[in-house]
């Protein structure tokens, strides 16, 4: 209580539901807020409710939410002494974080050095390996010339393996090898292709993960040496690399295994002096975790971790930026019950075409265990300029079963009119036997969508009859 605050007024450099989420956290901590917005968002809820609101540019994100110089000037001119970047936009831009701090403003997030380190996939993987965070098992360097040596390596990694050209990328210069007898030929062929296509015959190999799940660990680190992990999330239901539905904890993975990975993530944070909230993303298959990347920001799906741990991650981010130590200890952090989040997008549930426009009816669900994070009110206009996320419906239950039941009822109560939403997609997913079983892989949703019949598609319907 007596420690002086570093800042008393926070500029929120974002829009939509996350801007409102951050504004709520600021208010709860007794801080004033500055909303900077584009002309298109003048009627947005967080703008109307902010202590100070300033239009900084036209709808184009390049001249508003991505305009680093204008945002820093807006902080200066409104007397904001801290900036929360939210997610997306400038949240993982190391140059922005650096410019903010150079301007004498607190950046509510990691140091620019951490953002830069994790922004480069190679340095990120090397750093994580050095800290004992498991990465995709592989040759850890160029393949030798000797065939037997390569075979030894592949056997150690475990088949199937994927042979990749060091200079390759974008899906080119790689070959999956299923067994030892195919290896020699595949290596020779890939090496030849790599030489021809990239002018570099260097190859390496990794274990090929066929049906991995996307599992991620939430961390929270203060500036006094405390680094905590807050459990894991399963974000395997994705379409075109966009998460659709997330849950915590990941079904079917032993808590001891998650605890071991969590502890390693926290240790990696201590090693690199990480500050604030962050997420370690992993592929998970056959009991093996393989680090993909670290997100150095708050994530869309943070509420399911808040619901299962009882920790307000956004408030914690702000308190850490104030220089305060985290008050909880790792032992006290438990995953209680189960939480599931559906991302509600303004889009056609079958074609996924965006569906911007004015929302005439907006009836939200409620009841025990239901949380809605949204900036929309009846009459809001969904803008075509930005992403189509209009709400997050989060259900918590003592068990996964209870959370799902609550979610189903909630989605059936939710009435949105005159724009299309993906609510029917979520409702169908919640009846999918594979999802109900738990533990589907990252390709599941795409396969499921291929098989699904579109009721609007007359050809498909008539073919069915």
């Amino acid at each position: 209580m007596s420690t002086p605050q570093r800042f008393g007024r926070v500029l929120i450099a974002n829009r939509g539901e996350i801007a409102l989420r951050i504004q709520r956290a600021c208010r709860q901590l007794g801080l004033e807020t500055v909303a900077v917005y584009s002309e298109a968002d003048a009627q947005s809820r967080h703008v109307l409710e902010a202590d100070i609101a300033l239009c900084i540019g036209p709808a184009s994100a390049a001249r508003s939410y991505l305009d680093a110089a204008s945002i820093i000037l807006a902080a200066k001119v409104t007397g904001a002494t801290a900036i929360h970047p939210g997610y997306g936009f400038l949240s993982e831009n190391a140059d922005f974080a650096e410019a903010v701090e150079k301007a004498g403003i607190t950046f509510i997030g990691p140091t620019p050095e951490s953002i830069r380190l994790m922004g480069d996939k190679i340095t990120a993987k090397q750093t994580m390996q050095a800290s004992g965070v498991p990465c995709v098992p592989g040759s850890d360097g160029p393949l030798p010339e000797d065939e037997n040596a390569i075979l030894d390596l592949a056997n150690a990694v475990g088949f199937p393996v994927i042979v990749k050209a060091s200079g390759g990328g974008g899906g080119r210069g790689m070959r999956v090898v299923w067994s030892a007898d195919e290896l020699g030929k595949a290596v020779a062929l890939t090496r030849k292709e790599a030489q021809q296509a990239f002018g570099n015959p260097t190859l390496y190999l990794e274990r090929f993960m066929q049906k991995p799940r996307h599992i991620e660990i939430q961390v929270l680190c203060d500036t006094h040496g405390t680094a905590l992990w807050l459990g894991a999330r399963d974000c395997s239901l994705q379409r075109r690399h966009q998460k659709v539905l997330e849950e915590a904890p990941p079904p079917g993975i032993p808590p001891e295994l998650i605890a071991e990975i969590g502890a390693r993530c926290a240790q990696a944070c201590r090693n690199i002096g990480y500050r604030g909230a962050g997420t370690f993303e992993f592929l998970y298959e056959d009991g093996i975790f393989a680090f993909i990347e670290m997100n150095t920001r708050l994530q869309v799906e943070h509420p399911i971790t808040e619901e299962t741990t009882g920790i307000d991650i956004v408030c914690a981010q702000i308190e850490i930026a104030q220089g305060k130590p985290l008050t909880m200890t790792q032992d006290a952090i438990q995953t209680l019950g189960h939480a599931i989040e559906c991302r509600i997008n303004a889009e056609n549930p079958f074609t996924f075409a965006p569906s911007p426009g004015q929302i005439s009816q907006w009836d939200l669900p409620g009841g025990a265990g239901i949380r809605i994070d949204t900036h929309i009110v009846a009459g809001s206009v969904v803008q075509p300029y930005y992403d189509s996320l209009i709400a997050k419906v989060i259900a918590r239950g003592a068990t996964r079963q209870e959370a799902m039941q609550r979610l189903k009822v909630a989605l059936s109560e939710m009435q949105v009119e005159t724009i299309a939403t993906n609510i029917p997609l979520h409702q169908a997913l919640l009846c999918d036997p594979d999802f109900l079983k738990g533990g589907v892989d990252i390709h599941h949703l795409e396969h499921w969508l291929e098989k699904r019949k579109n009721p609007d598609d007359k050809a498909a319907v008539s073919a069915n009859i």
Partner: protein, 154 residues
């Protein structure tokens, strides 16, 4: 669906053939409109009348007028802020009012100044006219696009 969309740049607006092509793509994708905007604030919008005609029917398209940001008021023109900052209605040097009500201004004349962190940004008249009304206050922090004054045609 995987056709490469090489959209026209803003240096030149799309020609009628390109508009037809874009509207066909929109129809195929089940989209009702496409809007391009660049950092200079130029907008270009194509709306497709989503024909409830069966597939194969002729696609209808309408090229709507580009949306005009500073739409002229019924009786005149509103001058809006080109950026944000504290509004100065008087010359910092002479202390004289830059464009008081009743004064006549020419296109490009400085009618107000935005001051931000020691930097000043001129606000210029978009048209010839007589200042009919000043809509913002001296020293006020005003946002991008906020109306500052209105001009009546001279």
């Amino acid at each position: 669906m995987t056709k490469p969309l090489s959209l026209p740049t803003f240096d030149s607006l799309p020609n009628s053939e390109e508009i037809v092509q874009i509207s066909q793509w929109l129809n195929e994708a089940g989209l009702s409109s496409l809007e391009l905007s660049n950092a200079q604030g130029t907008h270009f919008r194509i709306c497709v009348e989503t024909a409830e005609t069966p597939a194969g029917g002729s696609e209808q398209y309408n090229a709507l007028e580009p949306s005009v940001l500073n739409a002229p008021a019924e009786t005149g023109v509103t001058v809006t802020a080109p950026y944000f900052g504290h509004l100065l209605l008087h010359s910092p040097v002479t202390k004289e009012a830059l464009a008081p009500v009743g004064s006549s201004v020419c296109t490009g004349a400085i009618v107000a100044i935005l001051e931000i962190e020691g930097v000043t940004i001129p606000v210029t008249a978009s048209d010839n006219g007589i200042v009919a009304d000043v809509l913002a206050k001296e020293g006020e922090l005003i946002g991008y696009g906020q109306p500052i004054l209105t001009l009546q045609p001279a």
